[in-house]
Symmetry: C2
Amino acid sequence: MSIRHGLLALLDQGPRYGYQLRTEFEARTGATWPLNVGQVYTTLSRLERDGLVEPAGEDEEGHQFYAITASGRDELHAWFDTPVPRTNPPRDELAIKLAMAVTVPGVDVPAVVQGQRRHSIKALQDYTRLKGRALAGEARPGGGQPGGPGADLAWLLVLEQLIFQTEAEIRWLDHCETRLAQQAEIEQARAAEAAAAPEGGTRRIGRRRTRA
Amino acid sequence: MSIRHGLLALLDQGPRYGYQLRTEFEARTGATWPLNVGQVYTTLSRLERDGLVEPAGEDEEGHQFYAITASGRDELHAWFDTPVPRTNPPRDELAIKLAMAVTVPGVDVPAVVQGQRRHSIKALQDYTRLKGRALAGEARPGGGQPGGPGADLAWLLVLEQLIFQTEAEIRWLDHCETRLAQQAEIEQARAAEAAAAPEGGTRRIGRRRTRA
DNA sequence: CGACACATGTAACACGTTACATGATTTG
DNA sequence: CAAATCATGTAACGTGTTACATGTGTCG
């Protein structure tokens, strides 16, 4: 639902036409989330279907303008007023992957972690470089300043969000490594214990044993 | 594509039936990402359509088993071997929202930030509480330990991922506040400047200045 | 002229998600 | 007996996403 609301927000500044919306959207989110032009039109027609926007005539140059409606404005304000739910967050592919990796036998978990770590570090460097250029006052990828003032600030904030998030991801991956090491230690100790007292009082570990 | 691969990973341990897959999936991701049973069946049939799984007969009790195929195993290993792309990350609703909020006039940006912050703090507390219970050895939400050993570890890792991510989000929100304060300062200075030299030689400031 | 940016759209698909229909078995 | 859990499935929808068709204007 992010694109819908994004377009709605842009239209709150006044009527726009499709191509323009794409340009302005990308001016704010930068090259990180390129928006296929086609999607603007599909989203726009869905917004119209739902009564949140309406056609607002043509330009002298033939541009098809759309304007936000009253209920569109309501919807938009509700969006701004309601925090995005961080309970029940969107499924995170990386988290699911690692959760599966540590469970399914035969997966080289450290390799998965390291591979991801390298990739995330690389991504972080890219973001940092972009931020440097943004602060140096260089043009955003995408050319001049469409989207008016504030677009630079928006782009900077988005970039920094990506940076913060990626840093957290890397920290988490490191944390996973320590957890895995702990786990290995425990399993080793358990194995030693089992060897010392084979068949002894192996008090019912819940289901399947760790080692077979 | 996370659910597809998740189920594939579970099936890599051996044939399972639908309901069982749901149980084991939730054992790993906890209550955070509840998985509608129906979705298991739809996903399963899509996996079958793509030749990644195949029906594997029935139980004595009538359970419809599915087994992973060779190409399913290939797909799964490719998944584990390929890091999830953090360049071109999934669109983040919060980032988009703030990017729009700072651009569209008439939005009380600090209010948006604070509202989200409160919500995220709350979510963080919930996660932390859950983690405490998990470490205390209490049962996961969902009852006993289905999913075998490692499921506890998986659930812990997922929880910690959520914690790391939420912390990063809060830090970012705080960071946004400082950025906004900076911005306000700049605008104030600019206004003052304009008042002092109205129409004067407002010498083309090369974009925003760092300090005003 | 050819390539490229501007501009508008449509068709089709994938995935996730919900709601519904249905029935067996267990448990209070 | 009623309610809950186990169990399998289908129908339908929404959003995001891509690929394609089409046409204008501009610039080297």
